[in-house]
Symmetry: C2
Subunit: 331 residues, 2 copies
């Protein structure tokens, strides 16, 4: 298994990416290949102490940014860190790629270059949402804006395998994101999906209303990519909004300032619960290779955790397990 990391993706590249790779290489005693502009990567590496044998630099000449059309960028920028990484994992299905770069390009490249697992209609982007009880895995978080019920059924099957194997949850509970708890509630897509999921060999627990997402009553939350993206982005935006408003309240008076100071350690623990760096990344499920998307904001710790996740993803043979299951369902 080769471990490839996109050294040029994300807000904190290449510095934090390189440091995350050094941490992971040392901790897991595995060689990590960082793809990126040689000069920049070595400039970062030279600042650190690391075991030379465990870090390989794979040179790339271009970078795909968030502002480009993902499909065009994937087709044109053959020398970009992302395209090189995707081609590597296409050549060896046992290897993994971690990137904190453009989600759209990773999705487009995952399908165009790496391809889907046989039998999978659409790959899905997953994301971990914080809840009262820990985390729930949401999918699709934005790969497929228009979905059929059969896609959502496959999302439920794939994610059940992933969550059981990687997160150690026995028979993970699958919830369908909907606007009411009763079976007949929802739009055409959710009503049809409900019927399909009832007949599928997953632990389907019914509809989950958006207001109950934070309760954590399902390990997996299934929805179309438009809805999933709305949920993901709204949680981010609202979290920032509330923390911002809270900060403003704290600096509003001397009394409040002292209160805020006393509360600081407790608020730190509070904020930690919303910390994506603890989670690292989330896989693109359904592509025929190990692709882990790290948060665009990833620091070294997030990259370290994403690499850890990628290694486990491959060690547990998630792709083979999904592939076998899908073949069985279709028989």
């Amino acid at each position: 298994m080769n471990i490839y990391v996109d050294g040029m993706g994300g807000d904190n590249s290449p510095g934090e990416i390189v440091q995350g790779c050094i941490m992971a290489a040392k901790s897991f005693n595995r060689k990590i290949c960082i793809i990126g502009e040689e000069q920049k990567l070595y400039a970062e590496l030279d600042k650190q102490e690391y075991v030379k044998e465990l870090i390989e630099v794979i040179p790339s000449l271009e970078v795909i940014t968030n502002n480009e059309d993902p499909t065009i960028a994937i087709r044109r920028k053959k020398q970009s860190s992302l395209v090189i990484g995707l081609q590597r994992i296409k050549a060896d299905r046992r290897s993994i790629l971690i990137s904190a770069g453009s989600t759209g390009a990773l999705l487009a490249g995952g399908t165009l270059i790496v391809g889907r697992i046989k039998g999978i209609q659409r790959p899905a982007l997953t994301v971990m949402l914080p809840t009262k009880k820990g985390f729930s895995l949401l999918l699709d978080a934005g790969a497929n804006v228009d979905c059929k019920a059969s896609y959502l059924q496959q999302f439920a099957i794939m994610s059940s395998i992933y969550v059981e194997e990687l997160l150690g949850v026995t028979k993970p509970r699958v919830g369908l994101i909907n606007i009411g708890s009763e079976e007949k509630k929802g739009n055409e897509l959710t009503k049809e999906t409900y019927g399909l999921l009832k007949e599928t060999d997953v632990n389907f627990v019914g509809n989950i209303e958006a207001r109950d997402i934070p309760e954590g009553n399902a390990d997996i939350l299934v929805c179309d990519g438009f809805t999933g993206n709305i949920i993901l982005k709204l949680m981010e935006g609202l979290g920032l909004f509330i923390f911002d408003a809270l900060k403003k309240s704290i600096i509003s008076s001397t009394r409040a300032k002292i209160g805020g100071l006393l509360l600081k350690p407790a608020l730190k623990i509070f904020k930690k619960r919303f910390d994506y760096t603890e989670v690292g990344g989330a896989p693109l499920l359904g592509v025929n290779g190990g692709i882990i998307k790290a948060h665009g904001n990833s620091d070294r710790k997030a990259i370290y955790n994403a690499i850890k996740q990628g290694i486990e993803f491959q060690e547990k043979n998630i792709i083979d397990k999904i592939s076998n299951k899908i073949v069985k369902v279709q028989e």
Copy 2:
């Protein structure tokens, strides 16, 4: 203009509803008709001081709850406070009805009993969302789970009139809820809607991503009822989740408890920004009568504000203005 209030709807009925009506009757010097079970309403009224001439009790025998199928309930429970209220406003388009009861039943009854404004394809449920700059009006918040682009176009037209007339915003900015800011982003519905809104006589400012909703960069947020309901419910659930987590942080240590105590006044102001009682309610736009939906949790202040809103809705002839505009658009 007659003002009807559903005395039996909502979590705090009839006590808080009756008190909200007494406050509004006195403040606006208008007669208010409360519909409900006579004995219960008089029991509440007898506890208060009020001008007898300004409060009329209209007897009803049944209540529609949140747990019933809305359409069946509207058809069967002819003697319910809600159905009686809807029949009153059907008989006199100048009157208004305020209810904190079942949203589903209000929607079903609005269409089945009161009917749509001529030319309007679907009525929409509106809701006010708190933002950094105040509030944005979101519609559809759940009346129509499957929408056509032409419905969303009409939502934009109707709400532009409402927000300009009632909230005093000149040329209110209309945003389309979407998963990217560029024109070509989104699902089939949002792409088609984008094209329509560009050609419509409203102040269309383009796509608004869910993470930017709290920024308040649009006065109106247009989307289908499935997406709108997800947004509304997630905001509620996440708000509660964060406040709850914050409370737990505050009681986690003595130090934090003292901090929390000092912060209390500031936190109160902070929480007030998320207070729906300040807003009161939101109209069901597109029905041929003034229907204001108050929050299910409404207290007296919320009911008072919802009544105020209803009076203005009728005084400003919103229905006629929507009707005239829709006729013009169709010509």
